[in-house]
Symmetry: C2
DNA sequence: TCATTATAGTTAGGTGGCTAATTATGTCAA
DNA sequence: TTGACATAATTAGCCACCTAACTATAATGA
């Protein structure tokens, strides 16, 4: 993922706002900061996962499977939850199955469909990764008290709902 | 980009926290919400830019150039600011140059280096895109007052500084 | 009944990012 | 002076995602 390292100075923002009257300087600054922190986090997550021979897409699939009480789902549902195409999910599952972390099981009731199940090896992989990941995440967030965490989630919720306005006229 | 569409329920988070004592539930929830909103924004941005025949990487390069008073930079500096490798920047610049949006200019003082300059066509492209982008961004952020925007930036700043802890023991 | 449509998953081919190696040029110290 | 190293940009080849098209199966309705 592309990682914005260089946020604009106040002076640059003012200059852009002068050329483009539609600009809302504090909205832009907040947006850019949000993108930057999120990409930083994603890059750091990649680094953490690579130590365990995992890529982010495959790791999310394992987590989605572990969230299910029967450790099972289908390619379509997984693709929907992960926001990738079904074609991409086929590739992710190929990789995971090759590594023995998930298992494709045919479904007699609907022969178009396939069940995807987390294997014991897949669970073991998560048991190796998650403590590492959670520990880092805890450290990374420890500067925020409960109030700030709630504030953050509330503010992000407002932005997410505001995004319906994004596609207002397409 | 991968777009998390499915956040865990409180019940699932509790179950994970029970298996992994390292888990900090509110830290995880905040982190996932942050990633989700950021990827949603990035996907929406992609959609907006594609209407103008632009890809995100190339668009950021144009913006970085416009931030310079002489509309000029170098591949190395642009790569650094965008958080991509110099090899990737070569590809981005190839695309932009082919579209006439930037221009490679040789530097006699250091014959290893190349100056990259925003062309009038590149500036015109930005003049077409930015009002659209800024308008959407304004709508998307209009649910937040100035206090909340400041809070958001402050909280993100804490997380960003906390990320130095991420790589604590590699 | 059976043509039409919808759905599940895969395959084929394209693209943008990556790493590693290459070419060319500049810098510096013995 | 010159050998070793550093730096700038590029090329070559890999990988994960994409879209579009395909196969197989199920559901629907005239």
């Amino acid at each position: 993922m592309l990682q914005l390292r260089d946020l604009p100075t106040q002076e640059v923002l003012r200059r852009f706002a002068q050329r483009y009257p539609e600009a809302d300087v504090t909205a832009i600054a907040s947006f850019l900061m949000l993108l930057r922190v999120a990409t930083d986090l994603s890059v750091a997550l990649d680094a953490c996962l690579s130590k365990h021979d995992l890529l982010q897409g495959r790791w999310w699939v394992l987590i989605l499977l572990m969230r299910e009480t029967d450790l099972t789902s289908t390619p379509s549902v997984l693709a929907e939850k992960l926001g990738v195409t079904r074609a991409s999910m086929t590739g992710l599952l190929d990789g995971l199955e090759q590594g023995g972390l998930v298992q494709r099981i045919s479904v007699p009731q609907d022969r178009r469909s396939v069940k995807i199940q987390l294997t014991p090896a897949g669970q073991a992989k998560l048991d190796a990764v998650m403590p590492d990941y959670y520990t880092r995440l805890r450290l990374c967030m420890q500067g925020l008290n409960e109030q700030q965490r709630n504030d953050l989630q509330a503010i992000l919720g407002v932005i997410d709902r505001g995004m319906s306005a994004w596609d207002f006229n397409q």
